[in-house]
Symmetry: none
DNA sequence: GATGAATGAGTTTTCATTCAT
DNA sequence: GATGAATGAAAACTCATTCAT
């Protein structure tokens, strides 16, 4: 079996990354030691330096991996979304606030990495390109809606984009600080309330208005 | 002179706290070592244990200090605000997005502590009690507005509170990740756009509507 | 073809030995790691243990190889030398200070092994047995000269041997410490000056006096 | 006692250096680990990094120290030497081959440091200035002798200097490789034989001719 | 009270060796 | 036979804390 070793190699790389993410989520970055990582991964000490050349690189790779997973998940969802702009936006909101993405582990990891300038900037390069794509998707959806509504306010679509994404970010922070009392439905309702207030015939408290607006 | 000693004591305590905050802002929590702190403060190694009994306590005190400063600043602003609920809310928004509060140092510190908060409950603590006070101020303002508007939706005020605070949080995250391209006026406009959409006769893109609504 | 395999085997052994010598010359013994060696040799990690049973054995073999090369070269030269004792001595001097033998790589290797020799008796060993042969060649040449000169001083030949070899050693050290400013001709002249001073009618500043002394 | 701590600090620095030199002499550089050093010095692990910032720096400091001791010792001797050039040269020879300087420990250390390019070049900078001073002392002594002898050969004094120092180096190598069979008197006799051969009325097999030469 | 040299537990890193493929 | 991923003992280094001065 020729590929087995190669396959195992990749498996171990991934096991280390997952171990880092688990540890970061549970104990925080500063308590994520090499010993902690290898114990969780059930691998040997030397492996980290073999595959990543050092702990720091591994931690960064883990940050990269986590960010990649987030964007991949979101883009998967969008591929399934309907064509109307409001449906696409609804999909993003539901994705971003859904259990698969917004959960204790992810939120802890996300904030842990953001907490230190070092990791922040290391991940930023990659994250920003993906973020820009997401931002543009939202922006083009809002632009279509604004055009449909014959809105004269040139900044409305851009502000709505910026505002929606900021609101979703804020929900994540909420979750981080109060995971016990966080209410997913409430977060969703608040978000749609914001959308409904800005684009009344396109959104309701429950989500997108799917029927075409006459 | 006993008073002078006491005064010096307090000065040193503060110098250490500020040194921690500077270091946390610049290097992050995990690179904020005792050596880093005393070098910045220009004080001796033993000082930390003399005044705080250990590094962890000092870091915690620094976090506490930082959050206290934030809420103190906000309350100062509120003391100057008009009586109307929309003015009080405007004051909070302007305070939260103003230069004095929303700047690189503060944002870095805030996120650094949050990144570790999950694991160090001691750090998490100070974020909470005060948080409730701000939340209640906003909630009571929105409740008054909702009552004025004869809103039937029982959750509107609570949702608006939650939404506004989340939006502001999101703006902070924006600033954290892209301090260079952050536009304070845009953030303000977006926030008021959200408020204006929900409470049209109380807010405009520019801020609170101060005149009484007939 | 069985012979080809055998040939390849020998090729790999040699490649490893040369890689060790290159690394020792450039980086020193303590920085000559297995990784360094296999990278230079372009062979696999396991090869070292396959052929030599471990790194230490390989390093020792490399030292042995290097010293063998030195003595082989010297004996080649002597085979070409004239019969007279002064010619044989001249040959040794020219060989020892010539480019083929006295060059940066060799000197670095030589001193690197000597630096560790005291502690690793295995390394010390190969420096010794061969050394005796060289010493005896020189000694017998000087003994013949001393007898020819009717020297009464019983120790003269032995002292001359010891002195000449020490002088040559000293020249190597000179080269080691200042390869840039080392002057091969000067080294040669000094050596022959020493010989000419001790055995005036057998040596001049230029080398051996070849004509028979009446 | 104000200076006691400072004094202790210096004592510990020195203890570490001596421990390194002992270990290098006995076990060689590659087996001189931090654990080995602190055990010999009876000090704590952290001390090395406190005083020297790392093992490498300590090892280099030790090399520096050893070299300094050598030159200091030699210069002390010269201060006691007579005025005549032959007496000064005799002093250098006796110093260099005497027990205080030429002993197992020193020779092992000297060659260990020379064995690796890294240490060699690190010490070279300092060593070379001192070496140049020594070399000049010898050169000026030989120059005076050559002038006294009305020697026409312009290079004689320079060659004698170079040759003498090379010969002494060679004796050290001898000692390194065969500490058991090394004979200090023989080394001395050979060296003076070389000097006597070149400057007959100034040196004998026993040393300098002190009486003025008519 | 203040200092900063000293400690040593705990962390990251290196690297010769092993062994499944 | 050859490979190179995997191992883990041992190495270097960091750093909060202590305590003699």
């Amino acid at each position: 079996m020729a590929g087995k070793r190669e396959q195992n190699r990749e498996q171990n790389r991934l096991a280390l990354i997952e171990a880092v993410l688990d540890s970061v989520a549970e104990k925080g970055i500063s308590e994520t030691s090499v010993s902690e990582i290898i114990q969780r991964a059930g691998l040997s000490r030397g492996m980290i330096h073999l595959h990543f050349g050092g702990k720091d690189n591994l931690v960064q790779a883990a940050g990269h991996h986590s960010s990649q997973e987030y964007y991949d998940g979101l883009e998967d969802l969008l591929a399934q979304a309907g064509d109307s702009p409001q449906e696409r936006i609804e999909m993003i909101v539901r994705g971003d606030l859904g259990e698969r993405v917004l959960n204790q582990r992810n939120v802890s990891i996300w904030y842990a990495f953001r907490g230190e300038a070092r990791n922040r900037s290391a991940i930023a390069a990659f994250s920003d390109t993906r973020d820009a794509r997401l931002r543009n998707m939202v922006l083009s959806a809002f632009t279509r809606i604004a055009r449909d509504m014959n809105m004269t306010d040139a900044e409305a679509a851009r502000d709505a984009t910026h505002g929606l994404l900021a609101l979703l970010e804020g929900m994540w922070t909420d979750y981080l600080l109060h995971p016990d009392r966080f209410d997913r439905d409430e977060a969703m309702r608040i978000t749609f309330r914001f959308l409904a207030a800005m684009f009344p015939s396109y959104f309701t408290l429950k989500g997108a208005v799917v029927q075409p607006q006459t």
